[in-house]
Amino acid sequence: MKIWQCQQCGFEYDEAKGWPEEDIAPGTKWEDIPDDWSCPDCGAAKADFEMVEVG
């Protein structure tokens, strides 16, 4: 499970936790998130995220 961080605002997407607010289930891998998904905090594009930790 990996953690991806928005390079614009620092928001972190943790694959283990998912993002239930937008129906992204815990365990959802980064590559399985739709390409038009955007950062819940700042609206940055999925491409603006970088992997920061391999858990």
Binding site: C9, G10, E12, C39, D41, C42, G43, A44
Partner: protein, 428 residues
Amino acid sequence: MKVVIVGTGVAGASAAIALRNEGHRGPITLIGSDPEDPYRRPPLSKDFLGGTMPVERTRLKPPTIWAEKEIELIKGANAESIDVGGKTIHLDSGQVLQYDQLLLATGGRPKVLKSEFMDMTHVYTLRHLRDVAPLRNELNAGSHLVVVGAGLIGSEVAATAKGLGVKVTILEAASAPIARLMPAWLGEKVASLHKDMGVKMVMNARIESFNQYEGGVRISMASGNRIDANAVLVAIGMTPNIELAANAEIEVADGIVVDAYGRTSQDSVWAAGDVANMENGFLGGRYRIEHWTNAQDHGVAVAKNILGQNAPYNPVPWCWSDQYGVSLQICGWPDASDDVGVRGDINSNSFLTFFHRKGRLVGSIAFSKPKELRAIRELIGKSPFISPELLSDPKVDLAELAKSQIEAEQFENKRNETAAIKDLVRER
């Protein structure tokens, strides 16, 4: 060329990395009074204060980056004076650094109440990483936290504390929260988020005095009310750190005065971030922006200009906040508007408002609409003459609209340019 940067906040640290990434090969020294490696301030009032984010995750960059990028990082050192003639900077350690180009990213410090109040135990401010642990130690379930100031930091700390089971009261001098950034009727919306969670909101609050008692502070209000707090957070804004510049006779106003490139009044001295007083290229006048996003972008922009890229920096300011799971975002200059429109249901917790001034889109405030706000932000910067009807139409996809509008605008600009060149050629 040797570049010295004062300030290890996001503006200074981003500038240092940008210099290297843009191909600067000479020495870079990054000095700051903070004893920590550069870190992200936004989580300090949210996840990190709440205890759900470990300290490593607050780091701006992996700790190895400074060595990898050959950036000399001097932490816990105060820059005491600048000799602009001799191009040297003097640290309190006695160290003297020579520079060819100097970037001042000195940020700010919290505004405070009377020192006799601030010096009491259980009274806190929050700006630095080191401020978090003492405040967190006070946030025990059932204790009472009084937050003075309902700006972004105050509101966020209140929300975090509430999540830890703390009793929270917010005292605000204005008539609504976040009054500096949003109109009162939207501030009311933020107030109701807090009230719904059981936070006591006291607006138009006038504090008379603080009195220390064992285990807390008694606050006396001008209304005659008394409030007993186990802890008090004073979050009433920031004061820019201009003294270093002012003492070197660099022009200061509210902040260090810079041009669109980040140059100060002194040769080879630049400024960026919270401390920089810059022109508003959209609406005129001068101002400072106290947002994370600006500090980051301004640091990078000025770094590029230090390397001679000559690109003016003209941002649409924006910020985000997170309170009780609602992501709140503000961009542009809502206070400069003469018209307001709404997209979505204002009685829900997910809607967007947008502001026009003389037909021009100048600002937006969104509750949990990050993607749409980003589209509006692009429009404000690149294609702002757009009708309110279009923006409020739920059938219009704002991201698509922004993309096509901006492309059309760029096409038009290009065509005008080409026509102008053709005219020139014809004249000859």
